[in-house]
């Protein structure tokens, strides 16, 4: 039995590596994105095999699903704006000297070899922090150790992560300031029906994944990504059209999670404890409250990242079109 599973592991590992290479080498940019999505889903499957279902969910929903949607959106944008300037054929636009190409490959190989030596040199399968985490679990307020680490033991990291997401949307809005509106893809009536059927179910799954994160795989980031999928569907069906007047509310929702997270830390600190040392009796309530608000922020931020350009009125002074 375990031999059959090992064979599966070998085949899966080979497929992951082969598809990663194929995604970079294939000529057509659309095929590149499709291969990348397949690669991400297979990686998520591999991480399930390595007993990391939380990470697999995050990779499938955020690392593959939403990243794939962002890539497709950008490709659509590039192709709609004239095929002349940018084409997959332009991979070899300027011929690279053979020596440089070999040097690049050699350098990548050297870094890889160095990493391999470092990994093989470090002791595998020795006890890391799992004992410390297991001992502190009763105080954490949740039963899923990954959620406990993310929202309690290492909550600083997660706070910063939410801030990174927030800065991403600021950066995207600044970069595309003054750019023309993105070309809207039209997907037709069947897509509309599909969106109508799946929207309520997606909302339910998103909230369930958030709620279940306390004791089972799931959590704020996975749930937020699924709710963001609703935002994507609403943008693509035209159910929601971003309007300049909505920016105030959008900004409020972007910062909601960060503010709630930081405010909780300050409140806890005000009670004479360290900033993320929740009182054990309130820990679960506080964690779920933070997670719920952070989920809303994540969903809205991810949807805004997909939409890209800030919805400004187009006759503003900030346009600097030629």
């Amino acid at each position: 039995m375990s031999d059959a599973l090992l064979l599966f592991d070998l085949l899966l590992a080979l497929a992951v590596v082969a598809i990663a290479a194929a995604a970079l080498l294939v000529r057509d940019a659309f095929a590149m994105i499709v291969l990348f999505v397949v690669f991400g889903l297979l990686s998520a499957l591999a991480w399930v095999r390595l007993a990391a279902p939380d990470v697999a969910l995050a990779e499938a929903a955020i690392g593959t699903g939403l990243t794939g949607a962002l890539l497709l959106k950008t490709l659509h944008h590039l192709r709609a704006r004239g095929m002349a300037g940018w084409q997959p054929g332009a991979v070899a636009q300027r011929p690279v000297p053979r020596a440089v190409a070999w040097l690049n490959a050699g350098l990548a190989l050297a870094v890889m070899a160095g990493l391999g030596v470092a990994i093989l040199g470090s002791p595998l399968r020795v006890t890391g922090l799992e004992i410390a985490v297991a001992e502190a679990m009763p105080l954490s307020g949740v039963e899923n150790p990954v959620t406990a680490v993310l929202l309690n033991f290492r909550a600083y990291d997660t706070l910063m992560e939410v801030v990174v997401l927030l800065s991403a949307v600021i950066v995207v809005w600044q970069i595309e300031r003054g750019a023309g509106p993105a070309p809207a893809p039209s997907l037709g009536p069947v897509w509309q029906g599909f969106a109508r059927l799946t929207l309520p179910a997606a909302a339910l799954v998103g909230v369930y994944v958030l709620w279940a994160g306390a004791e089972a795989p799931g959590g704020a980031f996975q749930g937020g990504a699924m709710l963001a999928a609703i935002g994507l569907m609403m943008l693509l069906t035209g159910l929601y059209r971003p309007h300049p007047d909505h920016r105030g509310l959008a900004r409020l929702l972007f910062v909601l999670g960060t503010v709630a997270f930081a405010a909780t830390a300050l409140l806890v600190a005000g009670g004479g404890r360290a900033s993320f040392e929740y009182p054990p009796s309130y820990a679960k309530t506080l964690i779920l409250l933070i997670e719920a608000l952070v989920t809303i922020s994540i969903a809205v931020t991810l949807t805004a990242l997909f939409h890209g350009r800030e919805p400004v009125a187009l006759k503003g002074d900030l346009r600097h079109d030629p």
């Binding site: 090992l6 590992a13 992951v16 590596v17 990663a20 995604a23 970079l24 940019a29 590149m32 990348f36 690669f39 990686s43 591999a46 991480w47 390595l50 007993a51 990391a52 939380d54 990470v55 995050a58 990779e59 690392g63 990243t67 962002l70 944008h77 590039l78 704006r81 004239g82 300037g85 997959p88 991979v91 070899a92 990548a108 870094v111 890889m112 391999g116 990994i119 470090s122 595998l124 399968r125 890391g128 922090l129 985490v133 297991a134 150790p145 990954v146 406990a148 680490v149 993310l150 290492r154 992560e161 990174v164 997401l165 991403a168 949307v169 970069i175 595309e176 959590g219 980031f221 990242l305």
Partner: protein, 97 residues
């Protein structure tokens, strides 16, 4: 032969392929994809480091790190794609007489 060794090697290979793509390719989207492959490869290595022979449970700490990494990579990807779109628009405008 155990799952951690198999996937550890796969993660290393994916990292190497991604690094090569990021430095050797010229197309901007492919370079970005190369960086993304690097991040997934690093994720593989971290998760392999957290794996324990069943029935022992894995170390949750690296798992949390990789989830953070995935979200940070998405933020970076979104910003990079916005730059790519903007650069393309500007070049497009330059080409036009």
């Amino acid at each position: 032969m155990t799952p951690d060794l198999i996937y550890g090697a796969a993660g290393l290979a994916v990292f190497g392929i991604g690094l090569w793509g990021a430095i050797a390719l010229q197309d901007r989207m492919r370079r970005l994809l190369g960086l993304k492959l690097c991040s997934v490869g690093a994720g593989f290595v971290l998760i392999v480091g957290a794996w324990r022979e069943p029935p022992a449970a894995p170390d949750p700490m690296p798992h949390a790190l990789v989830i953070t990494g995935i979200v940070v990579m998405l933020s970076a990807t979104a910003a990079a794609l916005a730059l790519i779109r903007r650069l393309h628009d500007l070049e497009d405008a330059d080409d036009r007489p």
